[in-house]
Amino acid sequence: MIGSVAAGLLGLLTLSIPVGIVLFLLGFGVDTFFSSFPLTRGLGNMVWSASNSATLIAIPFFVLLGEILVRSGVATRTYAALDRWVSWLPGGLVHANIATATMFSATSGSSVATAATVATVAMPQAEKLGYDPRLFSGAIAAGGTLGIMIPPSINLIVYGFLTQSSIPQLFLAGLLPGLGLALAFMVITVLLCMLRPSLGGVRRTFPLAQMMRALVDLVPILLLFGLIVGSIYKGWATPTEAASVGVAGALLIAFFFGGVSFGMLGQSVLGTVKITSMIMLIVIGASFLNFTLASAGLGRELTDFMNGLGLTPLGTIMVVVVLYIVLGFFIETLSLMVVTIPIIVPLVVAQGYDPIWFGILMIVLIEMALITPPVGLNLYVVQGARKSGTLSEVMVGTIPYVVAMLVMVFALIAFPSIALFLPQALQ
């Protein structure tokens, strides 16, 4: 069954049918060929309960927040300020892309929203300064994935919701690995650009006075981060509610540092509705597919498969890692989580692993899935913001960062405290 679904997915996707619609078609297919029950009768109920979700409303809120920052000019100034500080490194502005993505990750719960925000402000610089388009856009696509690792994070909210684990603890656990990944991205960029200086474009240094003045432009984002994360840890807002605090904060910041107008608000709202519906068609399609797969016995198949291997705990984790890398090529990330978490997490926890730690490990793998072809939302978002060039350039550009993510996967397995240190220390 799993093989047929994967083959069907690939075939239908290459026909350029929208990804969300393909997931529904596969659900109908599973119903017809692998189940003796009239599962499609449940379609309406699945669509209702998949979208009637107080958790998922965080998605439009985070997208709206990013839209407001971009359209008020706050995002551009943040980017320029980080440029002053990091562009002396081999790789130049590529580091500004990563640093900006890291900063916006701290205010956005969504990787797609983060990548879209950074791509919009960074892309105009690439050609001007003669950077290699592959590395430049790859860094944005990869840096954007940090949006779901550095708190806040919609995907961690979904993980906490599905596994009944504490979302604030998950957020704490994601902080160090998120910063570690950002650092790893920058290190790998430096190494690449030292080996092949042509990749890196212009390195620029700025006088100290300019650098110090630029710090002022970082204040809005830091304030916003403090506001969102502070409201969660002060116990004022649940992680989902904090997204609405973020929207209000972004509006205030836009008001003081940029400018608010009806036209700009209208554009922000339209962009938000567009991206939200795009994500939700995929999320709803994925939950319907999951429903048919579960009814047709995917849980048993996976459980039997894992039990049949008779693995040690470490072996189990390795198989799970490979499974997520492979599935991550083809399956949209929120769907991937919804489909696999109820099956995989109990198996992993039964082997004695900490569910908080596994949540963070899974997020690294999910980040990878966001930038691996053929189904990688961040690739499409970044390509969408470019004025020229092909999608394959973005794909090639992300390869070094996929390597960095793999390193992080093994680091997390070898040293679980990278994730667990903060939640345990602050308990």
Partner: protein
């Protein structure tokens, strides 16, 4: 004959200890292999909680089991199955459930096109507080996390404020004072570490017993031959329902000892929460509120002759009458 069965929460003891063994081993064996079962759970399927029985009625699967309270949006009369504070021990709860069974059977037949096979208990839903309380009366003015409409109404009538917080957020909410108290099963509270963030435990079923109803699609049921129907009905009673009830009281006593340290804790380390016993006066007051406000309110919601039927069955057993 293959049955497609949807179990309740896969992570909770009722599923792991009773549902899963019964449907995947006991019943197929008892039928000499004539019945085979494909078992999954509603959370693995990603079903909305309110959709579980409606989809059963449409024949999307053959058998489903979950907390009856999830279905009251479609059937307000079903709230009468699990009224808080009326049953304090497992025996009382079972007597109440047995009395309600004919009503439940009618509700499932008419609303969900389903045949009720069994009604089993989740643990009673007791009160954890991170606030000093000496009895029910002290809940006045406190923020309490509870689920279910009737519990919310009762809390309101007691002068407390109902707050909606998802299960996984409760520890943080208790710690930060977003809520002062929260209601859940004693065992769930023990294993989820609620004792770390709360001080007082009041083992009164303020959230009822959360009865789990097992039901089969009515067309499927009618399509089975009489012998198979008898076999299923008998097996589900002796090998699923009876054992689940038999362990309920011991489990409650054990869980309370685990949380308070008064007695043995087979599950692990004992904790030291303060055990709060409600006084008789407290209790009388709560029952008074229940009979004068909460239940009449329900009778109106349910409509029809449900209040009379309830008085004549459950009401008789627990000594309460809706006026």
């Amino acid at each position: 004959e293959t049955l497609s069965v949807v179990g309740s929460w896969s992570s909770l003891p009722l599923h792991q200890q009773y549902e899963a063994p019964f449907w995947s081993e006991t019943l197929p064996a008892a039928s000499d292999g004539k019945l085979t079962v494909e078992l999954t759970t509603h959370n693995q399927m990603g079903l909305g909680l309110g959709d579980i029985y409606p989809l059963l009625g449409q024949g999307v699967y053959d058998v489903a089991m979950t907390v009856a309270d999830y279905a009251v949006a479609d059937a307000p009369e079903l709230e009468g199955l699990d009224v808080p504070l009326l049953a304090l021990t497992a025996d009382e709860a079972r007597a109440m459930v047995d009395a309600a069974r004919p009503m439940v059977a009618d509700i499932y037949r008419d609303r969900f096109n389903a045949q009720v096979l069994a009604i089993a208990p989740y643990p009673p839903q007791v009160v954890f507080c991170n606030h000093e309380i000496a009895g029910l009366d002290d809940l006045q003015g406190l923020k309490v996390r509870a689920s279910g409409r009737m519990t919310a109404k009762l809390l309101e009538a007691l002068g407390a404020e109902g707050v909606n917080v998802s299960f996984s957020e409760v520890p943080g909410a208790l710690q930060n004072g977003v809520v002062d108290c929260a209601v859940t099963g004693a065992g769930s509270g023990y294993s989820a570490g609620w004792w770390e963030v709360s001080t007082h435990l009041m083992p009164l079923p303020l959230g009822g017993w959360d009865s789990v109803v097992t039901a089969m699609n009515l067309d499927k049921w009618n399509g089975l031959d009489a012998a198979t129907r008898e076999l299923i009905a008998a097996e589900v009673k002796t090998s699923f329902e009876d054992p689940a009830w038999a362990s309920a009281q011991t489990a409650l006593v054990d869980d309370i000892s685990c949380l308070t340290g008064n007695g043995d804790c087979p599950a692990g380390e004992s904790r030291s929460m303060v055990l709060v016993e409600a006084s008789d006066a407290d209790f009388a007051k709560a029952r008074e509120i229940l009979t004068t406000e909460v239940l009449p309110d329900w009778a109106e919601r349910a409509g029809g002759d449900w209040a009379q039927r309830w008085n004549a069955s459950v009401g008789q057993v627990v000594g309460v009458e809706i006026k």
